[in-house]
């Protein structure tokens, strides 16, 4: 019997027109945004009860894919507070859930699949205007994905 059950949210960050500066989109930025949103929407109690389990596991700045871990009891409130985030670094964004899974293995699989697809889309859209740094960043983040652990 497992005492602690977790949920893994694979989300994507969608922004329209404006592009986020890739290097600014990090785990620290995202987790602070989630904390703020939790505090405003669910108060001190909501924040405190989800803090121990809440963890931003992975953020790919170029493709906008991120992985958030939380406890099974709290995942709906955390998910909702992520939905209520409207701005990151003063750039209007919206979060969209791609996958929800109960184990790190399934999450890793889904995240990999979606991140590769998103990278392909990115290349298709940006084409030649994409800088090499951007590509390298996306690629280096992608190689980190299989190493995701509990």
């Amino acid at each position: 019997m497992v005492l602690f059950r977790s949920r893994y949210l694979v989300l994507e960050i969608v922004s329209l027109g404006h592009t986020l500066d890739d290097s600014l989109l990090t785990t620290a930025v995202l987790s602070s945004a989630i904390h703020d949103s939790l505090l405003t929407n669910f108060g001190e109690h909501g924040l405190a009860s989800s803090l121990p389990s809440l963890q931003v596991k992975y953020v790919n700045g170029a493709t906008g894919l991120c992985v958030v871990r939380c406890s099974r009891e709290q995942y709906r409130t955390i998910w909702a507070s992520i939905t209520f985030i409207t701005r990151l670094h003063n750039v209007p964004v919206l979060f969209n859930l791609l996958n929800l899974s109960g184990s790190i293995r399934a999450c890793r699989k889904a995240a990999l699949l979606n991140d590769t697809k998103k990278l392909k889309q990115l290349k298709l859209v940006c084409g030649t205007s994409m800088t090499t740094e951007q590509l390298e960043l996306a690629e280096s983040m992608l190689t980190r994905l299989p190493l995701l652990e509990l």
Partner: protein, 414 residues
């Protein structure tokens, strides 16, 4: 499959409107409605002037829309061949009896819209809307304090008549005060309706006010709806609203339809008596070309540019060779015995049959989320399939190959 029945229309620039529709398409919605708000007395000039946007212009509104739409549709298990529909909708603000009297089935102005909604401003108007006004939707503005009380007998009367209640979340995303009201009021609505007959929509005036279907369903659970009801609120209930609108628009008193029979056929044959009317495409109501364009051409033929044109060769080679890619491909779940999901032809009659079957709405009782790995089945020694909780499951559930686990077991044995 997934609908957003309220997108802003008045005072929204064409380009913004295109962006909003593009975002909806991108997030995996299969139908949107442009909303015309009507305050004051209805005149003949209020006939629908809402034209469905051309799909080409929508796809050109933002980069990579077609690709993203394909990607999200696959995740949401929406067939790529499912057409993207655009409806016109009018919301009549009702304060007095004169405005209420305009909402009858004979009104030609209302017949020019696909969906008719009412926004009651006082108790009397609300009671009228619930009991006898000829509308498809009751749109209560939950983002501010209600000027009336939601009373159980009235709400039940509305549900009995097949009129739905609309909750729109767009404003609440940006305005904390509106959010507070929304959560409070929707809980009362849930208590009255017990989750039945609710429609969730965005009311978006900019692209950023939209949210993906899954996120909206989750938001619905915060309103007190259960997951199934929340899912129905963005999919099944919206279809019912549209169908209600079609019945109101194309038939006499939502019941009688007069059809011309072809002269050269036997007038009392089974075909003529029992077939679905030839014009009857229940979910495509618009008449101009843009109304119900089949997306397949845009999604399948990769009309943007071919992938190779923009590939960066080195990175691609690396991606193909890396173990990353292989792992991803290996991990795709195999569907066993799944019902066939789509009719590629997009046939009218098949579509109409589709709505009645709950299977097609992909309702899953347990969690209602997209899952790739959380549901799996095991074949026990007796040959019965059981899921991870030990419950029997049908063939409809996913099975996932887990060769690495089996390999580790073998190692232990040896």
């Amino acid at each position: 499959m997934f609908y957003d029945l309220s997108l802003g229309y008045e005072g929204v620039e064409d380009q913004t409107r295109r962006e909003v529709v593009a975002m909806a398409l991108q997030l995996g919605y299969t139908g949107v409605a442009a909303n015309h708000m009507l305050t004051g007395i209805m005149a003949d000039s209020d006939r629908s002037r809402i034209k469905p946007l051309e799909l080409e212009s929508v796809i050109a509104a933002a980069p990579g829309v077609a690709e993203a739409a394909k990607f999200h549709r696959k995740l949401l298990k929406v067939p790529a061949a499912q057409p993207f529909r655009q409806f016109s909708r009018i919301t009549v603000v009702v304060e007095d009896t004169v405005q209420a009297a305009a909402l009858n089935s004979a009104n030609p102005v209302l017949r020019s819209y696909d969906i008719v909604a009412v926004r009651p401003k006082n108790q009397k108007a609300f009671n009228q809307a619930c009991t006898h006004l000829e509308v498809d939707l009751i749109s209560v503005d939950f983002s501010q304090r209600l000027p009336f009380r939601l009373k159980a007998p009235m709400v039940n009367a509305a549900l009995k008549r097949g009129v739905f209640f609309e909750v729109s979340y767009g404003r609440a995303l940006f305005d904390p005060r509106a959010r507070r009201e929304l959560f409070g009021q929707t809980q009362t609505l849930q208590a009255m309706t017990r989750g039945h007959g609710v429609v969730l929509s965005s009311g978006a005036r900019q692209a950023m006010e939209l949210r993906g279907p899954n996120d909206v369903i989750n938001m619905g659970t915060l309103f007190g709806l259960s997951v199934e009801f929340a899912k129905a609120a963005v999919s099944k209930n919206c279809e019912s609203v549209v169908l209600h609108g079609v019945a109101r628009k194309k038939t006499y008193k939502s019941a009688i339809l007069i059809e011309h029979l072809p002269m050269n056929e036997n007038p009392v044959s089974d075909k003529n008596l029992f077939d679905v009317p030839s014009f009857w495409d229940p979910l495509s109501v618009g008449t101009t070309d843009g109304a119900s364009v089949n997306l397949t051409n845009f999604l399948e033929n990769n009309h943007l540019t071919t992938m190779q044109d923009y590939m960066v060769p080195e990175l691609d080679r690396k991606l193909d060779q890396s173990p990353v890619q292989n792992l991803g491909q290996q991990g795709t779940p195999k569907k066993v015995g799944q019902t066939k999901q789509d009719d590629k032809t997009g046939d009218v009659k098949k579509n109409s049959a589709k709505i009645n079957t709950p299977k097609d709405l992909n309702l899953r009782s347990e969690d209602g989320f997209i899952s790739m790995g959380s549901e799996w089945t095991q074949v026990s020694k007796k040959g019965k399939k059981r899921n991870h909780k030990g419950q029997k499951v049908s063939d409809l559930a996913f099975t996932i190959d887990r060769p690495h686990l089996e390999a580790s077991k073998k190692r232990k044995v040896s």
